[in-house]
């Protein structure tokens, strides 16, 4: 009898613990916002992001505010960078399954000083992005990043550290791609295959603007960092492209997502226009 009572008590405690975990994950999820907010006053810009990847969200808002071209690259997150994201109903139906996680980021605020010239590629852009990354690294959110300039008008926030310590950014992987006329998407696939073969990570294309990646170019490189080849590709299309190279820890896999670099117009009819690749 007492064994049954203990067993029932243990079961109730277990279920409660599981529910608390699920509720905690869901409460955090509802606090997320779709888009980082930006306020510009007295020569300073305030950014507020709330997302599993708040640096990515903050960079997106800033680049769309000023028409910048900025890429983002996750580090390979470790267990301490993750939080349970398993759906409660799914968990009840699959009590013994492993479950799933997400990056454990959340709220992030930064206040940055503007320069007179905030145009794409300017020192003003570099200064704001540098300070943004520094503030992020001090915020306690997952991952550590550094800012790199890939070309005169292209920057990248590169993940260089995770809960497990320093990491080698995956796009630092040195690869060789023959310089031949191909569509952008064909070259991207070759690059990702080469990265995968050398790094050991599964890597694939995620999302992207289709007809833009169907345009052709003659781009490759001999023993060059993958980032350098991708940067040339993303700068060779009619519309400037930016990428988000995102890591899924549950599958130990990277997805290469492309987006058209856009700038806000302030016009309610046509609020966003693409950034030309000049």
């Amino acid at each position: 009898m007492w064994r049954k009572r203990i067993a029932r008590h243990f079961l109730i405690v277990s279920v409660l613990s599981m529910d608390v975990l699920v509720v905690r994950a869901q409460v955090a999820r509802t606090q997320f916002i779709d888009r980082a907010t930006i306020n510009q006053t007295d020569g300073r810009v305030s950014v507020y992001a709330n997302d599993p990847r708040p640096l990515d969200q903050a960079i997106t808002a800033l680049r769309e505010q000023y028409g910048w071209i900025v890429d983002y690259e996750d580090p390979p997150y470790g267990a301490s960078d993750l939080i349970d994201d398993t759906d409660a109903k799914w968990r009840k139906a699959h009590p013994d399954a492993k479950g799933v996680t997400r990056v454990a980021g959340g709220a992030f605020r930064a206040k940055l000083t503007l320069a007179d010239d905030m145009s794409s590629g300017s020192g003003g852009e570099q200064g704001v992005l540098h300070d943004l990354v520094a503030e992020y690294n001090a915020s306690g959110n997952p991952g550590r990043f550094e800012l790199r300039r890939e070309s005169p008008k292209r920057f990248s926030a590169v993940g260089t550290g995770a809960g497990n310590g320093d990491v080698t950014p995956i796009l630092d992987t040195v690869i060789t791609i023959p310089v031949e006329e191909r569509t952008t998407i064909e070259t991207i696939r070759l690059v990702l295959r080469a990265i995968s073969a050398k790094s050991g990570y599964k890597v694939d294309v995620g999302t992207g603007p289709i007809n833009t990646v169907m345009t052709s170019s003659k781009i490759g490189g001999q023993e060059r960092p993958a980032r350098e080849i991708l940067s040339k590709l993303a700068s060779a299309t009619p519309l400037a492209l930016v990428w988000a190279f995102l890591y899924d820890a549950d599958n130990a896999m990277y997805f290469f997502n492309l987006d058209v670099a856009s700038v806000l117009t302030g016009d309610s009819v046509r609020p966003v226009v693409p950034v030309p690749n000049k």
Binding site: W90, V100, T183, V205, G206, T207, G208, P209, L246
Partner: protein, 146 residues
């Protein structure tokens, strides 16, 4: 008399990963793309609107009026839909799941400000099994093997 057309497609933060149910919308939030070769169009678009004599004069010069916008309907590879099917339910994303994109076409009359001429709703649905259904203005096609 109209003199210029322009196109804009709402395209924001549709990526993988993560599969993230966003505030009860019940759709996956980050996945997108269209394998253009499935429509027999693996190369640069012919600079004319299909079925008309309208020439897209702006060509590929981004930022010009009357230029080809970008098309995001569908998937760049079958990995994305497969990822959604295998990982989505545990994140609370039910299959089939549909993503909705909004597209506008603008009309410029004699140099005046743009007028929103027409709105279009695009949907991309990851089905059970190995197919994806894309719909433009209510006209749908299902692509198998995705």
């Amino acid at each position: 008399m109209f003199v210029k057309w322009d196109e804009h497609m709402s395209y924001r933060r549709h990526r993988v990963p993560p599969l993230q149910r966003t505030q009860g919308r019940g759709t996956h939030s980050r996945i997108i793309g269209e394998e253009t070769k499935t429509e027999g169009r693996a190369t640069r678009q012919y600079p004319q609107v299909k079925g008309s004599s309208w020439t897209v004069a702006g060509g590929d010069v981004a930022g010009n009026h009357n230029y080809w916008g970008y098309d995001n309907v569908g998937y760049l590879s079958s990995t994305g839909p497969a990822y959604i099917r295998s990982n989505g339910p545990a994140h609370g994303v039910s299959i089939p799941c549909t993503q909705t994109l909004y597209q506008n076409m603008f009309m410029y009359c004699n140099g005046a400000n743009p007028t929103n001429y027409i709105n279009d709703t695009l949907t991309i649905t990851v089905n059970q099994g190995t197919s994806v259904t894309n719909c433009r203005a209510g006209v749908c096609s299902t692509i198998n093997g995705y």
